[in-house]
């Protein structure tokens, strides 16, 4: 384990530097008047920056794993994975934003802010220091508030932003209090040193436990863990749909990344692939309870939703519950499982949102009833319906889709950890989710549309994105070896 100084660390920071540069360049390019008239310039710059970021991530991925910037940031396979993940999510979101009518009139700042959040995701996933964790979390949060309230001439968007800010401010206030308690007890901000302190000081400290709970509030807020999920439905509904898609995947994954890294690094001890919780903090049971509560609530409330965005919000809460099982299982399989699950979630959730954007573009309505009879509305309608069916099947977790493989990995990790009750209840939850995912499929094929005009899904690129995501859902559901290999090398935490 090597702790690098600032100069040596700069090479590791190359991809993120590119994102910062992209951010500045987008804003600068918006200054000349005749340049700012060109609506495509900023998204193109953002795309180039993100692609460059991805390329450089592949380059830095070859470097030996190291702890950089005097222990602030950890550059390991896990970090590399989240760079990849953030870049891909950002690219898809940029594409969706270009296609969505809701954000057709955006200015250059929108793209700059998207790039900003993309910067925050790998920063948060790589943080090894409580201070860094807080800053990266705030970077993501504040940018999310702004993007959610971007359409500030619409009432729902403003309302969502205000709710988000209020919840977020409270959560980060509670979290920073918790962090300060942890710092007070352990005397260090470094997660690795916190573990070393816990190992060498076995005495029980109530303050540490309370500090930990308060910190979990901050993380839990980011990943919409019950009971910190209240903001999610309103915010998802009010935000512009591409932003909702991004929020439900990118920042959420970052929240999971830091939750897992913090728990695995600071609170457990690695004993050959099994991470044993330290001393008196039974983090495993705690997280199992949270996971169960989250997935159950998400699934049961999703049953009665009529708005597509609220529907997907509760569905994403339920999926957060599944992913939280990795924090309960505490072994390498769980890490692999959650990484696989994140990739599958990226594909299927982005796909579902892409179809949703197409439907909203077509009907101007966000109600679930807009999906009625989609399968019978011309060739484009049939295509969208088939794709949506695949995404729904995948979100339920049925073979032969990628969602099934992800769930399989996660549940086997839970069984490996011998938390059988959680596994059983998790599977039961999936059965519940089948009901409401199937409802959409029923709407698309067995109900009459209000007006039988052909589905408007013009152009070549947007349908091909949907088709591509649907194909990926099936392809990786059958041939998951490539992804499995990726998760195998990524599931490594440097600690």
């Amino acid at each position: 384990m090597e702790i690098l100084n600032n100069q040596d660390s700069l090479w590791y920071f190359l991809p993120e530097s590119v994102l910062i540069l992209t951010f500045v360049v987008i804003l600068l390019f918006d200054l000349p008047e005749n340049w700012s008239k060109n609506r495509l310039l900023a998204p193109i710059v953002a795309t180039i920056g993100t692609v460059l970021f991805l390329a450089l991530s592949f380059y830095t991925q070859q470097f030996p794993e190291a702890i950089t910037f005097h222990g602030m940031i950890i550059n390991d396979a896990f970090t590399d994975f989240f760079r990849l993940f953030a870049g891909l999510t950002a690219l898809i979101t940029i594409f969706l934003s270009l296609k969505s009518k809701e954000v057709a009139q955006v200015r250059a700042e929108y793209w700059a802010l998207l790039v900003g959040i993309t910067l925050g995701i790998p920063m948060l996933a790589a943080s090894n220091n409580l201070l860094m964790i807080y800053l990266a979390l705030e970077l993501i949060s504040i940018l999310s508030y702004i993007l959610v309230g971007y359409l500030h001439n619409t009432k729902t968007s403003s309302e969502a932003a205000v709710k988000y800010v209020l919840y977020g401010a409270t959560a980060s206030g509670v979290m920073i209090y918790g962090l300060s308690l942890i710092f007070g007890v352990t005397g260090t901000l470094n997660a690795i040193e916190i573990r070393q302190f816990l190992i060498s000081n076995p005495a029980e400290q109530l303050a540490l436990f309370i500090g930990l709970l308060m910190t979990l509030a901050g993380f839990g807020y980011k990943i919409s863990m019950v009971p910190f999920h209240m903001w999610a439905p309103d915010v998802y509904q009010g935000a512009p749909t591409p932003v909702t898609a991004f929020l439900s995947v990118g920042p959420k994954a970052a929240g999971f990344a830091i939750l897992l890294r913090f728990i695995y690094t600071a609170l457990t001890q690695d004993q050959g692939g099994v991470y044993v919780p330290l001393k008196y903090i039974d983090i495993s049971t705690l997280m199992a309870v949270f996971a169960l509560a989250t997935m159950t609530l998400g699934n049961f409330v999703a049953l009665q939703q009529t708005n597509i965005k609220r529907f997907l919000a509760y569905s994403s809460i339920a999926h957060a519950g599944y992913m939280l099982m990795a924090a309960a299982a505490l072994n390498t399989e769980a890490l692999r499982g959650v990484i696989f699950y994140m990739i599958s979630y990226l594909i299927m959730n982005m796909g579902a949102f892409a179809v949703a954007i197409a439907v909203i573009n077509d009907s101007g309505s966000e109600e679930l009833s807009a999906f009625k009879g989609l399968g019978n509305r011309g060739r484009k309608g049939a295509l969208a319906a088939v794709a949506m069916t695949l995404f729904m099947v995948s979100l339920t977790g049925l073979p032969p889709t990628v969602g099934f493989v992800g769930k399989f990995y996660l549940f086997s990790a839970v069984i490996e950890a011998k938390i059988y009750w959680l596994a059983v209840l998790g599977v039961l939850n999936s059965v519940v989710s089948l009901y409401y995912y199937a409802k959409i499929i029923k709407y698309m094929y067995f109900e009459e549309a209000k007006e039988q005009k052909p589905f408007a899904l013009t152009g070549f690129s947007f349908p091909s994105l949907i088709v591509g995501l649907a194909a990926a859902t099936v392809f990786f559901g059958i041939f998951w070896n490539a992804l499995s290999y990726l998760t195998e090398i990524s599931a490594h935490l440097l600690m």
Binding site: F23, M72, H152, G187, L206
Partner: protein
Amino acid sequence: MSGFDILFFVFAGFALVSAMGVVVSPNPVYSALSLVLTLFSVAGLFLLLQAEFLAVVQVLTYAGAILVLFVFIIMLLNLSDFELMEVRMGNLGKALLTLAAVVAFITLAFVVHLTRITGDPAVEGFGDISTLGREIFTHYVIPFEIAGVLLTVSLIGAVMLAKKNLTKE
């Protein structure tokens, strides 16, 4: 009891009372001003711990921040409609919430009291601006820079949200 103790209790008392004022005051202007007092009392506590730089920066930043808050309160709230801002809640609800807050406060105070604070005593020259600067630009350079990015980004976002007619050419 030394002078240090007396000053500590004065500052701490002011901080607590005025923090209470922030919450219970029905008038948002008074809340903002109580917040000034709270933060300045905390600056006094910093001063007692010989963190002069922190104390002064606390006053400097928060005086400006509170001014902005003040201006926002005046501009955004219809000052004649204070009663509208009161939370519509029965006495029982208020009592329960107050009780919960008191319990939480006592628990936290109890917990902090029980805690054995570990960690090293402050380094020589703590609170000195050159030590601080050196520390920021070596060990804490990346949080420092990210904080810079965060502030820039928030600034742009704030301007964007405040700007009218965003969609108009």
